[in-house]
């Protein structure tokens, strides 16, 4: 499978796979090595990779992907309720349902492009959200959200006598199973759910590389750069955009299914359009249209979300303890609105700054720093070696 890739991509693929699989080890020193967060890294990575296939390649800005995420979650939870706690049928149904849903929405919305497309997808997402809250309550369980209960049928599973709701599993491997070990005083947690998501993420990343390098991907890029010219040359672009839309919708459904597999409940708030906004954020922050960027963006956002939300006033006081009293209080007063519950504010600010100054996201930032370092090196003068050493240290920090 890997032999079909070019050398650069092979390397990227291998490095990516190693980094993802070693995630629990690499991230443990940063305080991010616990299963819940690792799972979210992988799942939102899938989501962002999928969104990038639509937005990065064709330039169609969809505000409706939260709806697919929700559809995926609901279908998976229903499979848990009706068939079995094995995640395979649930995830398959999630992908199929979100694919069909995307086909329907894409068929209608892709008649228009540009901001009309954005607004149409926005309207669709809001519509599904409202429906999930009101009329579809028999399916979605309204505001409470869809949850498992002991009375569920689960026809394929053996009769449950334990008196508690069984946990989700993959042929007996339970998703919340964690193997813990302590090396050099560091706590490492290897979680089944994370590794399931991680393998799927790697597979999906491979698929996205293949799409990027395929003639189909080239066609999508052509649509982004000049759709009119394509139409004038006699090519019907609709099937291509529709295919991209459905594929990225299925990615979102898969992510939704995985989310529900790790934590078997589904709520309508997952479908709100601001959720779509946060998906876009991940892709933009990482780098639109790049392979690695979206995964990076999803990781960075989820990481800082977890870290920032945990900071409260006491933590801040401990941080600024070395400062004199009044300065400590002043610093806490300044920083406090941006952490804890104010995480959204930081996110919004970062988002604006990235769009304004770094439209290509972190990937562009890395490239820029790389170019700068190269330029300094090429100058070759004696004093520049010092600065380049400094900058390369800086770039490795980032």
């Amino acid at each position: 499978m890997i032999s079909k890739l070019k050398n650069n991509d092979k390397l990227l693929m291998i490095v990516f796979a190693i980094l993802v699989l070693a995630g629990p080890i690499i991230l443990a020193p940063f305080g991010a090595g616990y299963p819940d967060l690792l799972q979210r890294f992988a799942i939102f990575g899938i989501l962002a990779v999928g969104y990038n296939i639509l937005f990065g390649l064709t330039g169609y800005l969809s505000f409706g992907h939260a709806a697919f995420l929700g559809v995926g979650s609901y279908s998976t939870v229903w499979m848990f309720k009706l068939l079995t706690m094995n995640i395979i049928p649930g995830i398959i149904l999630a992908v199929i349902m979100s694919g069909l849903f995307a086909l329907l929405i894409g068929f209608i919305t892709l008649r228009r492009s540009g901001i009309y497309f954005s607004i149409l997808t926005l309207a669709f997402a809001q519509m599904s959200y409202s429906l999930a809250y009101s009329v579809l309550t028999p399916i979605t369980n309204g505001e409470t959200g869809l949850q498992l209960s002991l009375a569920d049928a689960r026809v394929l599973d053996p009769v449950n006598t334990s008196g508690s709701i069984p946990s989700t599993n993959l042929f007996g491997l339970e998703m919340n199973d964690t193997w813990r070990t302590t090396i050099l005083g560091m706590d490492f947690q290897f979680n089944v759910g994370f590794y399931v998501s991680a393998f799927i993420l790697i597979g999906m990343f491979y698929l996205s590389i293949r799409i990027f390098r395929s003639p189909f991907g080239l066609m999508l890029r052509a649509i982004k750069s000049n759709q009119n010219r394509l139409i004038y040359t006699g090519i019907n672009t609709r099937p291509y955009t529709l295919a991209a839309f459905v594929i990225s919708g299925m990615y979102a459904g898969l992510a939704g299914g995985l989310l529900a597999s790790m934590d078997p409940l589904a709520g309508a708030e997952r479908m709100q359009w601001t959720e779509s906004g946060s998906i876009i954020l991940m892709v933009i922050l990482g780098g639109t249209g790049t392979l690695l960027g979206p995964v990076l963006g999803a990781g960075v956002i989820k990481y800082f979300e977890a870290i920032f939300s945990r900071i409260n006033e006491n933590v801040l006081h401990a941080w600024f303890d070395i400062l004199p009293g009044f300065m400590e209080n002043a610093m806490v007063w300044i920083v406090l609105p941006f952490v804890g519950k104010g995480w959204q504010l930081t996110l919004g600010l970062v988002f604006m700054l990235v769009v304004i100054f770094l439209p290509g996201g972190l990937m562009e930032g890395a490239t820029r720093i790389g170019n700068w370092v190269m330029k300094l090196k090429n100058r070759g003068s004696a004093d520049s070696t010092k600065t380049s050493a400094k900058t390369s240290a800086k770039s490795s920090d980032e």
């Binding site: 330039g59 800005l61 209608i108 008649r111 228009r112 492009s113 540009g114 901001i115 009309y116 954005s118 607004i119 149409l120 926005l122 309207a123 669709f124 809001q126 519509m127 409202s130 429906l131 809250y133 009101s134 009329v135 579809l136 759709q227 359009w273 601001t274 906004g277 876009i280 933009i284 609105p337 104010g342 959204q344 504010l345 996110l347 919004g348 600010l349 988002f351 604006m352 769009v355 304004i356 439209p359």
Partner: protein
């Protein structure tokens, strides 16, 4: 019959809000060609101008009651607003009419916010793709609403209407229906009249003043106008301020109807984009027409008789209409040719 009449009335006040916001949105889009996702946040900021005005007016001097005690056994606090201390009855009147006074406060503040926003941020996005404009204003909307949340908390803050306008008018009698069949709150009538005045004011301004004429010319052909030696950019900046002010006062006046909270802007934003798209991008009469039309449609679909046939239709009617309009008449109801056609 009276039920239908009531629904039309109910639709009018919602429609007025939609029309006012959509008008601001279209002004910005028509003049600057910018898709402003922060527009809902401007509406929300306007509403919080009302909250701030009321807070300032009710700043109170606290004195302790010598005789009575509260349930904890401590002396009862008597709060007397300073304005009442200083001006007596006039102060009481000011607090009662705080919503209307807030308009005076909101217009300069919102216009200033609009101008700062345009000069400071949006100016740099004229030559960037629409997707970037959407994204940066979306980010701005998040920032604005989180700032408001940090200051005022997440809960809605109810704002009373002036006492003389808080009752209901038995409007049905005026139109020959039975007594008590159609009762309509005074404030909604006020809101509707206010919206009508503001909308006609904006139209008259664009139609009958030289400034408006230049702006309309600029909307039609920006390059030619600037080649005639007119500083069209400055006029467009002022139009942005005007649009922000219109949206802001729409928010101020809406506070007695729905208590403002920090995310009311986002809730309105989607609807108002839909309104603008249905009316036709860049068409001011279209935005107003579509605003009222969708408002009335929405309240009709909320009737029990309609919901019995199509459950849940009241939640989605606006989006459904928007989709049909966009697919059948891509330019919207009154869209101009050549505006945002891709």
């Amino acid at each position: 019959m009276d039920a239908i009449f009531l629904q039309v009335l109910n639709g009018l006040d919602k429609g007025s809000a939609y029309a006012l916001i959509a008008l601001g949105l279209t002004l910005i889009f028509g003049t600057l060609g910018v898709v402003n996702f922060a527009h809902g946040a401007l509406f929300m900021l306007g509403a919080f101008c009302a909250v701030i005005t009321r807070k300032i007016l009710t700043l109170s001097q606290i004195t302790l009651d010598p005789v009575r005690t509260n349930f904890l056994g401590k002396p009862l606090e008597i709060r007397t607003p300073y304005v009442e201390l200083w001006w007596g009855d006039f102060g009481t009147w000011m607090i009662d009419y705080s919503v209307l006074l807030a308009i005076l406060f909101a217009i300069p503040v919102m216009a200033l916010i609009g101008i700062i926003m345009e000069r400071g941020l949006i100016k740099h996005f004229y030559n960037r793709p629409h997707a970037d404009q959407i994204l940066v204003t979306f980010g701005l909307a998040i920032v604005l609403q989180e700032i408001i949340k940090a200051f005022f908390g997440a809960n809605p803050i109810p704002q009373p209407a002036p006492a003389s306008m808080s009752g209901g008018l038995d409007i049905g009698v005026l139109f020959g229906f039975a007594e008590y069949a159609v009762i309509y709150p005074y404030w909604r009538i006020v809101y509707f009249i206010f919206a009508a005045v503001v909308i006609s004011g904006v139209f008259a301004f664009l139609r009958y003043t030289t400034f408006g004429m230049v702006v309309r010319a600029g909307m039609a052909d920006r390059e030619t106008v600037s080649m005639l030696g007119i500083n069209i950019d400055r006029r467009f900046t002022i139009m942005f301020g005007l649009a922000a002010a219109v949206t802001g006062v729409a928010g101020v006046m809406y506070t007695p109807i729905v208590p403002p909270n920090y995310h009311m802007g986002m809730d309105f934003l989607v609807l108002c984009f839909v309104v603008v798209v249905v009316g036709g991008m860049g068409s001011l009469p279209g935005a107003v027409l579509a605003g009222f039309m969708l408002g009335i449609l929405e309240s009709f679909s909320a009737m029990n008789e309609v919901k019995a046939i199509l459950p849940g239709i009241d939640q989605i009617i606006i989006y459904l209409v928007a989709m049909i309009v966009l697919l059948v008449r891509p330019r919207g109801l009154m869209g101009r040719k050549g505006v945002m056609e891709e």
